[in-house]
Symmetry: C2
Subunit: 111 residues, 2 copies
Protein backbone atom coordinates (compact mmCIF):
# COMPACT_ATOMS: atom_id res chain seq x y z
CA UNK A 1 0.00 0.00 0.00
CA UNK A 2 1.46 3.29 -0.98
CA UNK A 3 -1.16 5.78 0.04
CA UNK A 4 -4.86 6.10 0.64
CA UNK A 5 -6.62 6.19 -2.69
CA UNK A 6 -7.44 9.75 -3.57
CA UNK A 7 -10.87 8.80 -4.73
CA UNK A 8 -11.97 7.71 -1.30
CA UNK A 9 -10.78 10.61 0.78
CA UNK A 10 -11.85 14.23 0.68
CA UNK A 11 -8.53 15.36 2.17
CA UNK A 12 -6.72 13.80 -0.75
CA UNK A 13 -9.23 15.10 -3.24
CA UNK A 14 -8.43 18.71 -2.36
CA UNK A 15 -4.70 18.10 -2.18
CA UNK A 16 -4.34 18.70 -5.89
CA UNK A 17 -4.38 22.38 -6.91
CA UNK A 18 -6.24 21.71 -10.15
CA UNK A 19 -9.07 20.07 -8.29
CA UNK A 20 -9.31 22.95 -5.85
CA UNK A 21 -9.37 25.29 -8.80
CA UNK A 22 -12.36 23.48 -10.23
CA UNK A 23 -14.19 23.80 -6.94
CA UNK A 24 -13.37 27.50 -6.86
CA UNK A 25 -14.86 27.96 -10.30
CA UNK A 26 -18.00 26.09 -9.36
CA UNK A 27 -18.65 28.40 -6.43
CA UNK A 28 -20.42 30.77 -8.78
CA UNK A 29 -22.73 28.12 -10.12
CA UNK A 30 -22.75 25.07 -12.28
CA UNK A 31 -20.51 24.77 -15.33
CA UNK A 32 -20.26 22.31 -18.19
CA UNK A 33 -17.06 20.39 -18.78
CA UNK A 34 -16.20 22.53 -21.76
CA UNK A 35 -16.73 25.72 -19.82
CA UNK A 36 -14.35 24.39 -17.22
CA UNK A 37 -11.86 23.39 -19.90
CA UNK A 38 -11.88 26.93 -21.24
CA UNK A 39 -11.48 28.60 -17.89
CA UNK A 40 -8.81 26.21 -16.68
CA UNK A 41 -6.79 26.10 -19.86
CA UNK A 42 -6.31 22.37 -19.43
CA UNK A 43 -6.90 19.55 -21.86
CA UNK A 44 -10.38 18.11 -21.72
CA UNK A 45 -9.38 14.64 -20.50
CA UNK A 46 -7.47 16.17 -17.61
CA UNK A 47 -10.54 18.11 -16.58
CA UNK A 48 -12.78 15.08 -16.88
CA UNK A 49 -10.36 13.05 -14.79
CA UNK A 50 -10.35 15.63 -12.06
CA UNK A 51 -14.12 15.86 -12.13
CA UNK A 52 -14.23 12.10 -11.81
CA UNK A 53 -12.24 12.25 -8.59
CA UNK A 54 -14.32 15.10 -7.23
CA UNK A 55 -17.50 13.23 -8.03
CA UNK A 56 -16.32 10.06 -6.35
CA UNK A 57 -15.81 11.83 -3.05
CA UNK A 58 -19.07 13.67 -3.40
CA UNK A 59 -17.61 17.14 -3.83
CA UNK A 60 -19.50 17.75 -7.06
CA UNK A 61 -22.90 16.75 -8.37
CA UNK A 62 -23.90 16.24 -11.96
CA UNK A 63 -26.78 17.21 -14.18
CA UNK A 64 -27.02 16.04 -17.75
CA UNK A 65 -28.47 18.34 -20.35
CA UNK A 66 -28.26 16.96 -23.82
CA UNK A 67 -24.67 16.64 -24.81
CA UNK A 68 -23.41 18.77 -21.98
CA UNK A 69 -22.86 17.62 -18.47
CA UNK A 70 -23.17 20.32 -15.86
CA UNK A 71 -21.22 20.01 -12.65
CA UNK A 72 -22.10 21.84 -9.50
CA UNK A 73 -20.55 22.12 -6.10
CA UNK A 74 -21.55 20.05 -3.11
CA UNK A 75 -19.76 22.07 -0.47
CA UNK A 76 -21.23 19.99 2.31
CA UNK A 77 -18.64 17.33 1.48
CA UNK A 78 -15.98 19.75 2.68
CA UNK A 79 -17.40 19.84 6.18
CA UNK A 80 -15.14 17.07 7.55
CA UNK A 81 -12.12 19.15 6.63
CA UNK A 82 -13.60 22.24 8.15
CA UNK A 83 -14.46 20.34 11.31
CA UNK A 84 -10.95 18.95 11.54
CA UNK A 85 -9.22 22.24 11.01
CA UNK A 86 -11.45 24.15 13.37
CA UNK A 87 -9.67 22.45 16.24
CA UNK A 88 -6.55 24.37 15.33
CA UNK A 89 -8.20 27.67 14.62
CA UNK A 90 -7.34 29.13 17.98
CA UNK A 91 -3.67 28.75 17.17
CA UNK A 92 -3.61 31.61 14.76
CA UNK A 93 -6.01 33.82 16.62
CA UNK A 94 -3.84 36.39 18.33
CA UNK A 95 -6.04 36.41 21.38
CA UNK A 96 -4.74 32.97 22.19
CA UNK A 97 -1.11 33.90 22.03
CA UNK A 98 0.82 33.25 25.18
CA UNK A 99 1.38 36.92 25.90
CA UNK A 100 -2.25 37.81 25.45
CA UNK A 101 -3.29 34.96 27.64
CA UNK A 102 -0.97 36.22 30.31
CA UNK A 103 -2.31 39.74 30.02
CA UNK A 104 -5.82 38.45 30.24
CA UNK A 105 -4.97 36.56 33.39
CA UNK A 106 -3.55 39.72 34.91
CA UNK A 107 -6.71 41.58 34.03
CA UNK A 108 -8.76 38.96 35.74
CA UNK A 109 -6.70 39.34 38.87
CA UNK A 110 -7.39 43.05 38.91
CA UNK A 111 -11.12 42.45 38.93
Amino acid sequence: MARAATTTDVFNAIAEPGRRQILDLLVNGELSVNELVEQLGLAQPQVSKRLHVLREVGLVLVRDDGRQRYYRLNGRALKPIHDWIRRYEQMWNERFDALDELLEELNHEED
Copy 2:
Protein backbone atom coordinates in the same frame (compact mmCIF):
# COMPACT_ATOMS: atom_id res chain seq x y z
CA MET B 1 5.52 15.74 -13.40
CA ALA B 2 3.08 13.62 -11.55
CA ARG B 3 1.94 15.74 -8.65
CA ALA B 4 2.98 18.67 -6.54
CA ALA B 5 5.61 17.52 -4.10
CA THR B 6 3.99 16.88 -0.75
CA THR B 7 6.84 18.61 1.00
CA THR B 8 6.03 21.96 -0.50
CA ASP B 9 2.31 22.11 0.01
CA VAL B 10 0.32 22.20 3.21
CA PHE B 11 -2.73 20.75 1.47
CA ASN B 12 -0.74 17.70 0.52
CA ALA B 13 0.87 17.49 3.91
CA ILE B 14 -2.46 16.97 5.62
CA ALA B 15 -3.74 14.59 2.96
CA GLU B 16 -2.14 11.64 4.68
CA PRO B 17 -4.05 10.34 7.71
CA GLY B 18 -0.92 9.48 9.67
CA ARG B 19 0.33 13.02 9.38
CA ARG B 20 -2.98 14.41 10.56
CA GLN B 21 -2.84 11.98 13.46
CA ILE B 22 0.52 13.37 14.49
CA LEU B 23 -0.86 16.89 14.44
CA ASP B 24 -3.79 15.75 16.53
CA LEU B 25 -1.46 14.31 19.13
CA LEU B 26 0.62 17.46 19.25
CA VAL B 27 -2.41 19.57 20.05
CA ASN B 28 -1.92 18.77 23.71
CA GLY B 29 1.69 19.88 23.72
CA GLU B 30 5.07 18.91 22.45
CA LEU B 31 6.12 15.28 22.21
CA SER B 32 9.38 13.53 21.48
CA VAL B 33 9.69 11.20 18.52
CA ASN B 34 9.63 8.17 20.76
CA GLU B 35 6.52 9.35 22.52
CA LEU B 36 4.87 9.73 19.15
CA VAL B 37 6.08 6.30 18.10
CA GLU B 38 4.45 4.78 21.17
CA GLN B 39 1.16 6.57 20.74
CA LEU B 40 0.94 5.95 17.03
CA GLY B 41 2.03 2.34 17.07
CA LEU B 42 4.13 2.93 13.98
CA ALA B 43 7.76 2.13 13.33
CA GLN B 44 10.16 4.91 14.25
CA PRO B 45 11.37 5.63 10.71
CA GLN B 46 7.79 6.06 9.53
CA VAL B 47 7.17 8.58 12.24
CA SER B 48 10.38 10.44 11.51
CA LYS B 49 9.52 10.56 7.84
CA ARG B 50 6.13 12.03 8.55
CA LEU B 51 7.63 14.56 10.90
CA HIS B 52 10.07 15.49 8.20
CA VAL B 53 7.24 16.33 5.84
CA LEU B 54 5.37 18.25 8.49
CA ARG B 55 8.47 20.21 9.35
CA GLU B 56 9.19 21.10 5.73
CA VAL B 57 5.81 22.75 5.33
CA GLY B 58 6.13 24.45 8.69
CA LEU B 59 3.37 22.56 10.44
CA VAL B 60 5.65 21.51 13.30
CA LEU B 61 8.54 23.15 15.08
CA VAL B 62 11.43 21.41 16.77
CA ARG B 63 13.30 21.72 20.01
CA ASP B 64 16.33 19.60 20.78
CA ASP B 65 16.89 18.41 24.32
CA GLY B 66 19.85 16.10 24.58
CA ARG B 67 19.10 12.95 22.68
CA GLN B 68 15.42 13.68 22.31
CA ARG B 69 13.90 15.93 19.77
CA TYR B 70 10.63 17.51 20.79
CA TYR B 71 8.12 18.43 18.15
CA ARG B 72 5.37 20.93 18.67
CA LEU B 73 2.53 22.17 16.60
CA ASN B 74 2.62 25.32 14.50
CA GLY B 75 -1.07 25.58 13.80
CA ARG B 76 -0.63 28.87 12.04
CA ALA B 77 0.59 26.95 9.01
CA LEU B 78 -2.92 25.55 8.69
CA LYS B 79 -4.41 28.97 8.14
CA PRO B 80 -4.27 28.81 4.33
CA ILE B 81 -6.43 25.74 4.41
CA HIS B 82 -8.83 27.32 6.82
CA ASP B 83 -9.01 30.44 4.70
CA TRP B 84 -9.66 28.41 1.59
CA ILE B 85 -12.36 26.29 3.11
CA ARG B 86 -14.12 29.18 4.77
CA ARG B 87 -15.35 30.24 1.36
CA TYR B 88 -17.47 27.12 1.29
CA GLU B 89 -18.62 27.22 4.87
CA GLN B 90 -21.95 28.78 4.01
CA MET B 91 -22.81 25.74 1.96
CA TRP B 92 -23.46 23.58 4.97
CA ASN B 93 -24.87 26.24 7.20
CA GLU B 94 -28.61 25.80 7.10
CA ARG B 95 -29.21 29.50 7.40
CA PHE B 96 -27.88 29.86 3.88
CA ASP B 97 -30.21 27.32 2.39
CA ALA B 98 -32.34 28.53 -0.47
CA LEU B 99 -35.43 28.84 1.64
CA ASP B 100 -33.71 30.89 4.30
CA GLU B 101 -32.26 33.16 1.69
CA LEU B 102 -35.70 33.72 0.29
CA LEU B 103 -37.07 34.52 3.71
CA GLU B 104 -34.28 36.97 4.31
CA GLU B 105 -35.04 38.72 1.06
CA LEU B 106 -38.65 39.08 2.08
CA ASN B 107 -37.59 40.59 5.39
CA HIS B 108 -35.49 43.15 3.59
CA GLU B 109 -38.42 44.16 1.50
CA GLU B 110 -40.45 44.77 4.60
CA ASP B 111 -37.89 47.27 5.94
